[in-house]
Amino acid sequence: MKREERVLTGVHFMQGNYAAVEGAIAAGCDFFAGYPITPANEVSEGMARRLPAVGGAFLQGEDELCSIYAAAGASLAGAKAMTATASAGFDYMQEGIEYAVAVEAPMVIVDVMRCRGENFATQADIMQVRWSAAGDHEMIVLAPSTVQETFDFTVRAFNLAEEYRTPVIVISEMSLALMRERLEIPEASAIPVVNRRRTTKSPSEYLPFKADSEYGVPDFAELGTGYRVIHSINPHDERGDIEWDPKAFERLYKRITGKVRENRKKIATTQRFHLDDAEIALVGYGSEVRPALDAALSARDKGIKVGVLKIDVPWPFPEEAVAEVASGVRTMVTVEMNIGKYAGEIERVVCGRCRTARATKNLGEPHTPEEILTVIEEVRS
């Protein structure tokens, strides 16, 4: 099927979860596996309807473990694979993520964060998406703030997964996932699509886990095409053979983590709002950017110069962007819908460049602009 036929070009009033579906389809996703869980169900339901119609395969797994490993299997068979879940289901997927990291299987995982049972908003999983899979890794995690960004970031997540051959996580939030907003889907030709680089070498010359540089990404050979590769979670050498030598292990994980970390300036994008003359910078990600922007404008109405640093990609951590903003303001306030987790990372990097404060809330509800404004007034006095 031609790409133009897959992409729902036009203006829509669409739910966040469906925007993730359309972003995936536009990016070339052709395999989805998921297990029912609120509030991520519309991703599965949308995929079940859309994917078979565009020639892809849809699986409702018997559990989250099936879903993440089916995605890994499909990815190694050449698919652009995706799964979606919500916090509790994401817990189950950790070993699968570890496997995908180790064998460098691209895939996209949507984690709709939830708390207080099922249906309340939170950003409580912000550290979990970074570290909870066992073993060493650097995760790529994108945090949309709007339905439009849910579409755009899902496309980008597939492209990053393909480029770096690694799982990429899109964190949504209950509020964002179930919200309907304006979504503009561009022409297919205006949506960039990256495909993993396939090897041009013969099976006898091909080394499946050797890249052309220390932090590079190896070329891919799909299953069943004569390359006879071992894709093991165990430490492996450049041939893919299980290798227990600590030096081989070090070389492998230095590259697997380095390919993300060393490219973080390219990957970890941020957006700046009203920061040029700001004395206070609010910094946040996901839906919390929305009340933060409102609060910044209200503060400016009161004569307080406040700006917002919007973190598009919480992980890898955008160190340089945070440090630069911190150097130009008196106070940096982390706005976050949890007990204060990302704030710790912000404060580590600010490291005395300015004062820091936190606006945190963990009640299953986003901040109101007024609540953030109160914090602004406190830190200013």
Partner: protein, 283 residues
């Protein structure tokens, strides 16, 4: 060339193996080598090209088998073999996939995937080497350890009744199910061959000896010969079993082919017969 003709350069089946990975890590007397041999004889007989196939092993002794075979391989996560296989088959239905799983991998941590793969009739061959215990981890009780058996985690004997894997496979919807034992290599090869040639979820359970753990702890003997004999003494061919009373079959393993049938194989949870974007309304 006949398999029985041993050429000067060694076993003709070696060409199917990653020879630089040998010697293998299986204990002396382990049944896994016999399973490899039977599998490769079946591959040779069917003239299969391992280069176009995928071998899957989770974690365990049996799970190491595909690592020694010269084919694409997924390995190293306990119990998720059939989940991997499901993703591969839905994306590339023509790729032949064979899973090697121990009894723990298949029926303990992977039990849920097993019944669902059977229900869906996933077009995969599932070879379960049942050595009656968790062997790689040191001989703990497993879902197919015989009742009463002493293992490292059942020092007073196992109070758990075992699964009948084949009965469960049939009930769950597998379309080829057979049980054999390592001391019957001809039958083992024949069943694996049938399974590899079968369209649908094919299950071959192979009763196998683990002299290192099950033999020593449960039977009080580390001799492979004693264990192979014990397995033989505890098996009854289906034809004979049909004429036996339930109490005579107590503690016995029926061997033979339990089912061979056909039904549509799994292609996804919902399949659009005519992929067509126009059928889709705007969301």
């Amino acid at each position: 060339m006949s398999v029985s003709t041993m050429p000067e350069k060694g076993n003709p089946l070696l060409k199917y193996m990653r020879q630089d990975k040998l010697p293998h890590f299986f204990c002396p007397g382990c049944g896994c080598g016999q399973v490899v041999s039977a599998f490769l004889r079946a591959v040779e007989a069917l003239k299969l090209d391992l280069g176009t196939m995928v071998g899957i092993g989770g974690v365990g002794c049996t799970a190491r088998i595909p690592v020694y075979l010269h084919m694409d391989c997924l390995h190293g996560v306990h119990g998720r073999t059939l989940a991997w296989a499901t993703g591969i088959k839905l994306h590339k239905p023509d790729t032949k996939v064979v899973v090697f799983a121990g009894d723990g991998d298949a029926m303990s941590i992977g039990g849920n995937h097993f019944i669902h793969a059977a229900r869906r009739n996933l077009d995969v061959t599932f070879i379960v080497v049942n050595n009656f215990n968790f062997a790689m981890t040191g001989g703990q009780v497993a879902p197919m350890t015989p009742g009463g058996a002493v293992t490292m985690t059942t020092p007073y004997g196992s109070s758990e009744p075992p699964f009948d894997l084949c009965a469960m496979a049939v009930t769950s919807g597998a379309t080829y199910v057979a049980r054999t034992l390592t001391s019957n290599p001809a039958q083992m090869t024949s069943y694996i061959k049938t399974a590899l040639d079968h369209k649908g979820f094919s299950v071959v359970e192979i009763l196998s000896q683990c002299p290192t753990h099950f033999g020593r702890y449960a039977l009080g003997s580390g001799s492979p010969k004693n264990l192979v004999t014990w397995i033989k003494d505890h098996t009854v061919p289906l034809t004979a079993a049909d004429k036996m009373k339930a109490e005579e079959l107590e503690g016995k393993y029926r061997t033979g082919e339990f089912i061979k049938t056909e039904r549509p194989v799994f292609m996804g949870s919902t399949v659009c017969s005519a992929p067509c974007a126009e059928k889709e309304g705007k969301a």
